[in-house]
């Protein structure tokens, strides 16, 4: 079955959890390029991917969030974008096997288009290199994630759709405003997002990062209303970060996510996983909650 057919089968699917924190635990130093590990420490990257599969994920991402040439430029690695992304997908594919799927991760470039310091063509080309390499490495879908600006997200979706045969997922990072509704830091609401990324070709939409599961329920409720027929994905943080003695901690425990998962499904989520602060234990808890939910149905 293709990835999209699985998603549309009506079964709630499980995605993976955080990568960044995991890499740091394994020794990634501040100032070190995470994507370089795909070639220098492939076994460690594989361990992360495999731990999520073992936790019960139906799909895992790739270690390529900052794999655009504009992010890699920072480490003098811009010219190795294709190599590092292809390696990222190959590692996750090995961990996923034939039963599970690989989502090739594409994050923001860090450039802001309206400021005019970069052209649309340059951004499109950077995403094109990344998407093609992820497909080459064995990704089953592309996930354009943590987006906050419509123009950049649309370019990434188009670059993936026009240059690979893969379905595209697009998730934005929303924050709760003082008024109580949700907007990205660029001022984009869930409504504005959906009405731009669906015509651009996104097959699955949703939200990642920035919020714990509780707030993701609010966001999914809105998205479900505006896009009734579109599969929705959530990668929630383990709550809002708190700083203690110079360390960033995420307060939501696996048990908290276990309890909130049924409400997230009720709100309309079709694929559920984690973002910053989540671990294989969180993913296992979500998987258990989904199983129980489907059994009771």
């Amino acid at each position: 079955m293709t990835f999209l057919a699985k998603v549309k089968s009506g079964k709630v699917l499980i995605s993976d959890g955080a990568w960044g924190t995991f890499l740091h635990e394994k020794g990634l130093q501040p100032g070190e390029c995470p994507e370089l590990w795909n070639v220098t420490r492939p076994d460690d990257v594989y361990d992360i991917a495999k731990s999520y599969i073992d936790a019960g994920a139906d799909m895992i991402e790739t270690n390529s969030f900052g794999g655009s040439r504009f992010k890699l430029e920072h480490y003098g690695l811009a010219d190795r974008a294709a190599e590092l992304n292809e390696a990222a997908a190959a590692i996750s594919k090995k961990a996923a096997g034939d039963a599970c799927n690989v989502l090739g991760s594409i994050g923001p470039t860090g450039k802001i288009l309206i400021m005019g310091d970069i052209t649309e063509d340059e951004i499109y080309d950077a995403f094109k290199i990344q998407a093609m390499a992820l497909a080459q490495g064995g990704a089953d879908a592309i996930v354009v994630e943590t987006m906050t600006a419509i123009d950049e997200a649309v370019l990434a979706i188009r670059a993936a759709k026009e240059n690979t045969p893969l379905p595209v997922i697009c998730t934005f990072t929303f924050e709760k405003t003082i008024e109580g509704d949700y907007k990205t830091m660029m001022g984009v609401s869930p409504e504005m997002m959906a009405s731009a990324v669906l015509p651009a070709g996104a097959d699955v939409i949703g939200a990642n990062c920035g919020n714990g599961m509780e707030r993701m329920i609010d966001i999914i409720t809105v998205l479900r209303r505006i896009a009734p027929g579109t599969p929705l994905l959530v990668h929630a943080n383990a709550g809002a970060p708190i700083v203690q003695k110079g360390k960033t901690l995420f307060p939501e425990k696996p048990q908290d996510m276990f309890k909130l998962t049924p409400r997230l499904i009720e709100a309309g989520a079709n694929i559920i996983g984690g973002c910053c602060g989540t671990t294989p234990a969180h993913i296992a808890a979500i998987a258990r909650a989904v199983k129980l939910y489907e059994k009771d149905k």
């Binding site: 802001i112 309206i114 600006a149 003082i178 830091m185 001022g187 960033t248």
Partner: protein, 221 residues
């Protein structure tokens, strides 16, 4: 004069850079911060007055931003408009007509790429009569040390926007104090507090650019 300050403040607040700029659509064809600053200097207004208009505009958009009534694009366009106005003051400073009160070496700390706030501080400090050496973002301890070496007697300013990078200020300050014990270090950025600044051995903290200028003025007085 107050009319001019108000007009410039509006251009900065709305992000109206110059006459050609199509943003914001409702101010199309009107003079922007660029033209207003130029005309003001020609008419003999003080650079101080021009700076005042810029800061007023930035304050307004800044408070809208913190109330979620404006977002990053609006904030960036406002900063761009302010830069356009400040560019006219640069030759004025550099001609030596105004004596510089001192030098601030400023940068965003290692691992951190946020520079909107740091750039605003740099502009306001420059407008306040100091020379500014901007090291950019993701500035390593070595880069700070090299800049102090190149500009002896400077004050150092560090900005951090992430809870994960603000801790890097501590080691940078330690290294600076070890090599240049008399160098004053000023810190700022959204997650930074006075308490945190005290704990890591910084000599000064300000939640905003104007406060940073006040601290610098006290230091050189």
């Amino acid at each position: 004069m107050s009319d001019f300050v108000e007009q410039l403040a509006l251009c900065v607040e709305r992000g109206k850079v110059n006459k050609e700029s199509l943003y914001p659509p409702d101010l199309k064809g009107q003079d922007g911060a660029d033209e207003l600053a130029k005309q003001a200097l020609e008419r003999g207004l003080q650079p101080d007055t021009i700076l005042k208009g810029c800061i007023l505009g930035m304050d307004r958009i800044g408070s809208k931003f913190s109330q979620n009534k404006a977002f990053v694009p609006e904030l960036l366009m406002a900063a761009k408009a302010m830069t356009a106005a400040m560019d006219h003051l640069k030759p004025f400073f550099q001609s030596g007509e105004v004596k510089r009160k001192g030098t601030l070496i400023i940068g965003t700390i290692a691992g951190d790429l946020h520079d909107i706030g740091k750039n605003l501080v740099a502009m306001v400090v420059e407008g306040g009569g100091f020379e500014v050496v901007d090291l950019g973002t993701d500035v390593s301890t070595e880069k700070f040390l090299a800049a102090i070496e190149a500009h002896p007697g400077s004050i150092v300013g560090m900005s951090a926007l992430l809870t994960t990078t603000m801790v890097n200020m501590e080691s940078a300050i330690r290294a600076i104090k070890e090599k240049y014990p008399d160098t004053m270090v000023l810190v700022g950025g959204a997650p930074v507090t006075q308490q945190f600044a005290d704990r890591i051995g910084a000599d000064g903290y300000s939640p905003d650019p104007q406060g940073a200028v006040a601290i610098l003025n006290k230091k050189v007085a």
